[in-house]
Structures are given as C-alpha cells and as structure tokens.
Amino acid sequence: MTVTQERPAVEVADHQQLVTLKIRRYDPEVDPEANWQEFQVPVEKGDRLLDALHHVKWYLDGSLTFRRSCAHGVCGSDAMRVNGVNRLACKVLVKDLGGRDGDTITVEPIKGLAVLKDLVVDMDPFFEAFKSIKPFLITSGNEPTRERLQSAEDRARFEDTTKCIMCAACTTACPVFWNDEAYFGPQAIVMAHRFIFDSRDEGADERLEILNEKEGVWRCRTTFNCTDACPRGIQVTKAIQEVKRALIFRKV
C-alpha cells in the first residue's frame, strides 16, 4: 500500500527541483505492517539524500526515523537501500540518483537485519559477527619501548581493509547473508583480513580457524554485491578471496 501525503503544492524556489522520496515506513506502535509513503521534497544542486530525508523529518513528518551522525561518510550510521542498492544517505547526492524534476527515489532499510522502525535496523547481530573474529591485534612477548617497526610495504598489505567504517552496507547487500543470518558476512571477514595481513599480528591461525567454520568464509559465493556496496571503496570480494587463499595454503 502506498500512502501519498495530501498536502498543498510544495513551494519550489528557482534553484530547486522537486523529487519524490518513496520511503518504506514501519512503526509497530502504529501499524504492524510496513508500508510505502511518498513525500515531495524540494532539493538543491549538491544536496545529499540525507538532506532530503532531513527535510521530510524536520518539516513534513517528524516521526520518520533513521540513524545519522557525521553526514559525510565516515561514521557509518546511515546505510540504507536506495533505489535497490546499499548506499550511505550522506554520501550520495540526490542529483546522482537520477533525482531530476519529478523523479522518484525509493528508500528502504538495509536487508537481512530486523527492522525496528522505518530505516532503523537491529545492528546487534552485525556487531556480534564482527566480535567473533577477534577484531584486535594479537601479539606475544614484550612490547618495545618505542613503536614496533613496520615497513611501508607491510603497512600497505592491509591498507584497504583498515578503511572499514562498519556501516553494514556490504553485509546487508550479500544474498548469502539474506538467506542465512548465521553467516558472518563480508564485514567480519574484512575485519579479519585487516588483522590477518598485518605483519605485527600473531593471531592469524586463531582467526583462520574461526573463518574456516561452517558459517565462515566458504559461504561466500563471490557475487561482488559487497564490493559494489562499500561506500569506502574497499575491495571486499578481493579481501575475502585473500582470506580463502590463506586458508587453503595456510600462509599469510
């Protein structure tokens, strides 16, 4: 069911365009069923999708609920499904969503995690998967007084996976995860990669054992959805493949 707001014509200034946001709404306190709702939103060149969502929340319907914080793609709060693909609302511009006059942009919560209200999902299973791969540096022996040395080449080996902001865009774009929530998902494997390939870390064997389990890395079917979804440009599928290879050859 789609509800369209009955409102007087929206005022649109010369430098603005009108787009329609079609948003998946869910609030079990109001209605046990989710439904679609459309809002007409005036946008300016350069507006982020987040700006358009804020326009709805601040001036049209205060009950629209989503997470956000930094508003420039570094905190990972506002991953959502935009026109069918995972994006950060603050890192995608309306004009890049085909948001020209009269166009409709669909916005839904990310998939595979329980929806709690509107675009807010239960992130706890996602963080639990992350925690299960021992996401911290594991070392033995005495620490040096100063820094450990690490060559620029060794540092570069895991650079890509240090960029992860834990927004869950990759994990919730993964068809395997949609069908089996016990699967760790791409993000947990990315985080394992960040440590497994860090020359300072001595926990690779422990982590590889965990990833070798039934719900581990072998569930990946290399669909590349995760890589396409990552707002940080991490080569997620490549990282997963490197972890698989490390498991086969038991050599990092």
Partner: protein
C-alpha cells in the same frame, strides 16, 4: 531500570574509550553509555594526525611542543596541563601503536610524521614534523583501535542510551539518568565515579565540521545545576571546510604542501604569517581568510570562499597521503583536486572551553574545589590545555592523555569509597517532566526552524569576528528563540526510537550553550586566540589574562574569573 557500576563513562569517542580501558585496569566494574554506537563517534572524523615529539623525521622535544601549545593558545593555556600533556603524549602514541593502530610509516618503518599548523622547532623558528598520522584518517584509526581494545577487554556498552541528567547529591556525583532510544525507557545508573566524555557542541553553528549529534548535552546538563562552564567564548573555526557544507579538509593538506590562494591567485598567508605562512595556527588563518573575503579578494561568483590549491602536488602524493579529503571534494563539490583548487571557508570545529577540570580530570565546581565522583576528558572538558586556540593534532592528544588520566582517577576514587552513595528518592523526576512537556505539551513551534535560526544568528554574529553590537544582537535573538522553545511540539508520540523527541531535547542544550558563549564573549573586551573582537582588536593581559567561569544564576548568567597557571613561559606577542 536500575544499574549499578563502579565507574560509568558517558560517551564512546576517543576520550571515553580510553577512559574505559584505563578505569578497568583499576579492578572496578566499568560501563560505557553512548547515544550512538561507539564507532559512530566523531573522533572518527579527525583526519590529520596526533602531535607528539617523537622526532622520527626531524629533531623534536616535548618542551618545543609545550611551548607551541601555550603560544598557540595565546597564553591562556594552563601551563601545568600543557607540560603533562606534551610529555605524556609521547608514550600515548607508542601505546596506540602497540594496540595496533596502523600508522603510516617512514622508509625506516617508524611512525610517519608531518608538519601541522603552529607546530615548530626551537620555539618558532620553522615548522616541524610532529603530527603522527595514518593517511588522512587518523581519527578513524584511533576510534577503531580503541573500540577494538574495548572489545578485547569485554567492556560493557549501553549503546543508543541518551544521558539526560547527572545525579549530584550533596555535592557528590553518584550516577546518571539515561533514555533508552530503542524503547523510550528511563534508566538510572548508580556509580561511584562518572566520567564525562561526550564531546563538543558545534551544532550551535550552521557551517560546522561537527556531527549532527554534537549538541553539548553534558556541558549543558552540568551548567543547569548551577555549576560553571569555563572559557566558553573560545571556539575554534577550522580554516578549511568545504564551502557551504563545512566538511573538514585537514590542515594536513597544508602540511603536505597545499597553499591557500585568493581570487588573484596570491598566496596571501605570506602577508599574515611570513615565517610559517599557510601553517599558521587556525585562528590566524581563519581570520586571514575572512579578511581576504571582506576585502573583495574572495573566490567564486559571490566572492565568498577561498581556494585551497593542491594542483602543484603530484597525484601520487595525494593518493598516498590524502585519499579521503580528495574524495570529499569529488563527492560533495564535484571538484577534481588533481587539477582544480578546492573552494573552502572556515567551519566551526572545536570548543576550547567546557566543563572545568584539573590535570587529573577531576571536575571543578568553582575555581578550586572538585565535585567528588565526577571526571571529564576530551572536548567536553576544559583543562585548559588549549587556552584560547587549540593547535591542530592536539585534540587527539587530549583524548588519549586526559582520557587515560580520567580513567585512572575515576577508578582510584571508586576504590576509595567503601560503598555507593545513595541515590536521591526520585532521581528521574526532572527527566520525566522534561520529556513529558516536550512530547505532550501540545506546542506548535518547530524544532528545526528554531535550530536553524539559532545557527544563522551564531554564524552571523558570534563566529570568527565579533563586536559588542553583534554579540548583543545574538543575545537578543537567542532570548527570542528560548522563549519560542518553551512552545516546541513533537509529532512523534511513540516510545520506540523517538529521535524527534531527542532532537527537541538537544535543541534546549544548544540554546543554553550558545547563550553562555555569547555572554562570555561580550564580557571579554579583548582579542585572544579564537575570540576576536573588532572593537577590541588587541590582547589585554592586564585585564583579561584569566579564564572565564560562567554560572547559571536563576534566569541569568553570572561570570567569574579564574587565574591562568603560568610556569615556564611568559606571555609574548604572538607572531609566526
């Protein structure tokens, strides 16, 4: 629901996460409460680096760092704090590396360092490589690393719990009241020690680098109890935010050789700071930018911004050292930094002032006495190590050094108490009444409209340049907005994830803090660091070498003052 811990940390950014790790070393129970998931905290947005005199590139000494911090703070810095800070941070950086922080590396494999604004060798002779960095994502790496360590230690987190009151009974802090976002339930947390680590309040301004969630909650809550906020007139504007958006573009860009240019292509900082030019401290660069714009030398059709030029730097260098900021320019402005300069303008960035503390992170209730059981660290606190203007990189030091000290102090205090202090009979009453008034009061004023008007007036009247007249205008505007705030309404009556309700609460905090800033600024008839009064353009050490202490006194604000701690370095004219 009721909870009981020895040490409670409010906020899960760098300071809070560090405090939690160090409190836990004291064999006490620790919990962290945050209105966000920890990895969403704004520490993660810091870019350029953490300053420490490691000397990995050129010779460096903690005394030089201490001096730069004091001079950068326009001598309002408390020098005992600056000394502790410059010494402690060296070990703090090594500790972060040991925890796994992936610093960029020198060819020898040491932690890489680069130049940053106001950091010099030999007391001002030339810029020095002091900023330890991980590309332009140093804050992200610190936040991730500290969170990882907390996962390792099994820290208890209450995520998306919004602290709405501090429980202070007979002068002692004994817990907090928090709103659980998921359910709307009100929780009491009883604790022997509470550490405030909740960050800043940049959202009083329109153009800001700060996250939407930075509304100064705990500063305002503290202030509403009649307890003082220190040096609130000192607010930092980072010179280089993306124009109109305020998104931070790190000073590390200039550390890597980026140059500020006006519309004539002139490297104008040569006129303002002949020795270190584009790497002058932030307050000076921000003023220089607005001076150029006011003189008609701004860029663009409206002449309202300045160019940050990286086009002379090799693309490989930008890719290797500054990948995120180049991506920001592309994503948000459609600018290719390889070939085109980035349009920038100053952006509200960092509060030098806040909840007053001593160097052990104990919160002060006046110039000398502490509030037993209450500690603060990071941007929410005012130690005061940053004085009138913080140097770039020094906030990431602050969270590590004083987060650690706060954690240790809080644990020691908790261990010194045989039992928890009893809570008052009805600790949640004020919070319940506040929420009920907002949710069910039937008001018609719109939260976003009031907030937007507040931000407009603060940008126009209380930012880089101020006069008595502009500050009076801001004061009048804020008074009008506060009167309207009484009548705000909230459409969402639900309990579940009622973020609209919390935005209304946050607006109340912002209005308080804006008012304190303006009143404190209006009384400081001098220019020092980040506080520049066009009607009093010089520093006045005779009358104003002192910290402001602002107290809520009924409906008014009462100002008192506190002496500055001076040890090694005597005030001099500030030239670069």
């Amino acid at each position: 629901m009721h909870h009981k811990y020895d040490v409670l940390v409010v906020g899960a950014g760098g300071a809070g996460l560090m405090a939690a790790l160090y409190a836990a070393k004291g064999d006490v129970s620790v919990a962290v409460i945050s209105k966000l998931y920890p990895t969403r905290s704004h520490t993660g947005a810091a870019q350029g680096g953490v300053g420490a005199a490691l000397g990995n590139i050129g010779e460096d000494h903690w005394e030089w760092h201490m001096f730069d911090t004091i001079k950068g703070g326009d001598y309002l810095t408390d020098q005992d704090a600056a000394e502790v800070f410059s010494k402690d941070v060296i070990d703090a950086v090594y500790e972060l590396e040991h925890m796994g922080l992936p610093f960029s590396r020198t060819p020898e494999g040491k932690i890489a360092q680069r130049k940053f604004g106001g950091h010099t060798r030999e007391f001002g002779k030339a810029a020095v490589e002091r900023s330890c960095y991980a590309k332009d994502r140093t804050g992200h790496m610190i936040l991730q690393t500290l969170y990882q360590q907390n996962v390792k230690e099994g820290t208890t987190f209450f995520n998306e719990f919004h602290v709405l009151d501090l429980i202070i009974e007979n002068g002692r802090c004994c817990g907090v009241v928090a709103f659980e976002l998921a359910t709307g339930e009100i929780h009491t947390f009883q604790a022997k020690s509470v550490i405030l680590a909740s960050g800043g309040y940049g959202r009083i301004f329109k153009i800001t680098s700060n996250a939407l969630t930075l509304s100064g909650d705990l500063m305002s809550i503290y202030y509403r109890k009649g307890l003082p906020l220190e040096d609130m007139e000192f607010y930092q504007f980072h010179p280089t935010g993306l124009t109109k958006l305020g998104i931070l573009i790190t000073e590390g860009v200039r550390g890597e050789g980026g140059i500020l240019r006006n519309k004539d292509g002139e490297r104008f900082m040569e006129r303002y700071a002949p020795t270190i030019k584009d790497l002058a401290p932030r307050d000076m660069v921000a003023r220089a930018i607005y001076t150029e714009i006011r003189a008609g030398r701004g860029c663009g059709p409206a002449g309202d911004h300045i160019f940050l030029d990286l086009t002379h730097l090799p693309p490989e260098q930008l890719d290797a050292k500054l990948p995120d900021i180049t991506e920001f320019a592309r994503t948000y402005l459609g600018i290719e930094p390889y070939t085109d300069p980035i349009p920038i303008q100053p952006t509200a960035h960092y509060a030098m002032g806040g909840v007053p503390t001593n160097i052990d992170a104990q919160v002060l209730r006046n110039n000398t006495d502490i509030v037993p059981g209450l500690f603060a660290a990071g941007e929410v606190a005012c130690v005061s190590v940053h004085g009138a203007n913080r140097l770039g990189t020094n906030s990431l030091l602050d969270i590590n050094v004083f987060g650690r000290r706060g954690g240790l102090s809080a644990a020691a205090y908790a261990n010194s108490l045989a039992a928890h202090v009893d809570l008052p009979d009805n600790p949640v009453d004020d919070v319940v009444a506040l929420l009920q008034r907002l949710r069910d009061g039937g008001g018609t004023e719109n939260v976003a409209t009031i907030r937007s008007e507040l931000q407009e007036t603060m940008d126009a009247h209380a930012s880089v340049y101020r006069t008595e007249e502009t500050l009076k205008q801001a004061e009048v505007d804020i008074a009008g907005l506060k009167a309207r705030y009484v009548h705000v309404g909230v459409a969402d009556r639900g309990l579940r994830y009622n973020t609209e309700l919390l935005e209304a609460v946050e607006l109340g905090f912002l209005l308080d803090l804006a008012e304190v800033m303006v009143v404190s600024a209006k009384a400081r008839n001098e220019s020092r660091g980040g506080h520049f009064r066009e009607d009093f353009p010089h520093r006045d050490d005779v009358n104003f070498m002192r910290h402001t202490m602002a107290y809520k006194d009924g409906g008014d604000i009462r100002l008192d003052y506190k002496p500055v701690v001076q040890t090694r370095y005597q005030p001099m004219e500030r030239k670069y």
